[in-house]
């Protein structure tokens, strides 16, 4: 029994950064912006969170550093794509490459240093309950934040007026503009929110999951988060299913290696990516579903009338 609890806990730990980054990107894409720089914002979050924790000795301050770093980095993207109307795909890719390089430079002095781990919460009595205690009352704070965030984003998008406006901007920016909704403002806020989420996802990696600083430690999780948004067909609830599926595949790969199943490790490492491709193909087949949920203005630049 304890083995399974620890496996599920490790799945939660592997899935949380995916869920956080994907939730942020979902909001960004719902507003009609395609930010391919998730990987870059995530690693900036990871290195700044690690640095913040090292400098202050407090992992929560570190997490805050990560959030701010991700948000600040996404502002660059917002400026380039919204104000200068640069191509979103190219700018996003550039953001990823820049983030990977810049984080390596910032983190040079931290390589090999022992990290400060954000501890799991411990509620007397409740956390000691069998099975449930560990799973429900004994995880790290960022895990709870990620679940709360998904619910909050769902409520915001589908139950609040501001969320309706954001979806409207993503469906047709010219119509939204004609109604007097601030298209660029909405998109800028969505991008910054996405950046903050990616930053927190990075913080989870360097403060909870690993916890240390390794160059390039995001290892493609930003890209999986992007695929997840499509997997969830832009619906927050489905993000949880997708993130945990991908997280489980990731963990399964470690355990299968340890058990010596005779499957090459490289194949197992590639499993999440193969799953992504399979899921993308499967989803593309259901066109009605995709068309109704896909933000129609995704990736299109908006230039207001004079």
């Amino acid at each position: 029994m304890d083995v399974w609890v620890s496996i599920i806990l490790s799945v939660c730990a592997a899935s949380t950064p995916l869920l956080l980054a994907a939730t942020g990107e979902l909001v960004v894409e719902r507003s009609g912006v395609l930010n391919l720089g998730v990987e870059g914002m995530m690693i900036m979050g990871a290195v700044c969170a690690f640095a913040g924790a090292q400098l202050t000795g407090d992992p929560f301050v570190g997490a805050l550093f990560g959030i701010v770093a991700g948000a600040a980095f996404s502002l660059l993207f917002a400026f380039l794509t919204l104000i200068l109307v640069a191509n979103q795909v190219a700018t996003g890719l550039a953001l990823t490459i820049l983030g990977l390089g810049l984080s390596g430079m910032i983190g040079e002095g931290f390589v090999g240093q022992p990290g400060i781990k954000m501890e799991r919460i411990d509620i007397p009595f409740l956390s000691d309950l069998p099975i449930i205690g560990q799973l429900v009352f004994g995880q790290d704070p960022i895990f709870y934040a990620s679940i709360a965030l998904v619910i909050a984003v769902w409520f915001f998008l589908f139950r609040s007026r501001k969320g309706l406006q954001l979806r409207a901007v993503g469906d047709s920016h010219s119509s939204a503009h004609a109604l007097g909704i601030g298209v660029l403002k909405t998109r800028a806020l969505a991008i910054v929110f996405g950046g903050a989420c990616a930053g927190l996802a990075g913080a989870h990696l360097s403060l909870v999951y690993v916890p240390q600083w390794v160059e390039g430690m995001t290892a493609g999780r930003g890209w999986i988060a992007l695929a997840l948004v499509v997997f969830a067909s832009w619906r927050p609830g489905r993000l949880i299913i997708g993130a945990y599926l991908f997280g489980a595949v990731n963990i399964a790969q470690f355990h299968m290696q340890a058990q010596g199943f005779g499957i090459p490790a490289q194949f197992l490492t590639s499993l999440p990516y193969i799953t992504t491709i399979v899921v993308l193909v499967l989803i593309a087949r259901n066109r009605r579903l995709t068309m109704i949920n896909t933000p129609a203005a995704l990736g299109q630049p908006f230039v207001p009338d004079r």
Partner: protein, 518 residues
Amino acid sequence: MSADDAKLLETKGLTKVFGTLRANDQVDFDIRPGEIHALLGENGAGKSTLVKMLFGSLQPTGGIIEWRGEPVTVPSPSVARSMGIGMVFQHFSLFEALTVAENIALSMEPDVKTSQVAERARELSKQYGLPLDPDALVGDLSVGERQRIEIIRCLMQDPSLVILDEPTSVLTPQEADTLFETLFRLRDEGRAILYISHRLEEVQRLCSRATIMRHGKVVDICDPREETAATLAARMVGAELQDIRPAPVSLEAAPVILSVRGLSLAPDNPFAVALKNINFDVHSGEVLGIAGIAGEGQGEFFSALSGEVEQLPTGGTIELRGNDLSALNISERRKKGAAFVPEERHGHGAVTGMRLTDNMLLARHKSDQDSFQSGGGLGVIVRSAIRSATDRVNAAMDVRKGAPDPNAGSLSGGNLQKFIMGRELDRQPALLVVNQPTWGVDAGAAGHIRQSLVDLAASGSAVIMISQDLDEIFSIATRIAVIAKGTLSEPTDAAKMSREAVGLLMTGQTSDRAEVAA
């Protein structure tokens, strides 16, 4: 104060300058409560610019706007709405992925709940006889239903001034009649209605006053009921328009050019329309007009004829002068003598970011392979040949452009459409299929394009003209068929068709009855 002086809205010397273009030049205009006031003018006359300034989407360069006698600035549409100005747009500002109630809620105060909006919309739709389901997804609705959303959205604010921009351009005659009744009702409630249209018959029927604009200036204010359509048109254009008529064709004598049997097509996305068992012949010398409301399968019908969508083996046959086209792609169909002009000029009919000569080559690289390319398999482009063909087209169609070989996107809509039409006509095709030939084109260019279609038919070719503009259909088609819900009615001699009959077919009423009978 007498009733005459009670102006609801007045502009004095209103001016808007875009670069070197004076889109609105010293416009003096006024509207009173309880009147339907027409704003007339060609495309590019400045009607939209004026209305956008009244509604706050654009800011004037000079002049003043007075609302109930007080000078005001209208910084944004939401301010306009709170003042009591409502607008129904020509191109609906609706969100297809959202429900009707959500769409309406977006233009309301933020503290109003979507469920309350749905309730209020239901009441208004009953009160004004505009049936509408607030929970329906807009993407699934017809154009007429979408317009009802716009009108109800506008009425939710209880506006004193309602602006309608070309409201009937997408409606059937019957739907238009329903709209007019709603408008009369609004007028009788003391609201002012600003009615933008280029359909003079409607304006004469509805409006008690008309402001006519040309080249950004107000050229006349008159009572349209005391004018004739011809005198109004002359003031809009600044010159008398010529009447274009097709030459009569004897169907028995004329050979069949295109024969379509059992054409069917499955929809390729949730918002597409399926084509169901379409049969017709087009003869030499004929202009077959295909009428219909937007989104009834015109685009799919065009794509099936042009070969842009792959046809299934069971999807019927398309024979051009005895050659079966159904298995051929678009280039092969062109080589057999067909030519196509799609509805959307930008990005479909022409690549806006490329020069006219490049667009010429893109469309005709296969059909004119021998003259446009040399070097055998290498396919070296012969620029001189393309340039001379482009010059020929520009001269024949009177394409007005600012540079010898400008980007397609820099031409005005009418001039680009003339170029695209000319590019196809220059090949002397046996069959020309054109979708909305004069959509959004000014009257002068539209006349030129229609004349060229009639001339092509007179030279012995067949023309299929898909159009939502009934005036256009009745002016140049020799036979008329109607597309509704993906089915095509039997083509009938234009002289034997009335607008009412076409209108009934457009709503699919007779085809429904036929299904019941079967």
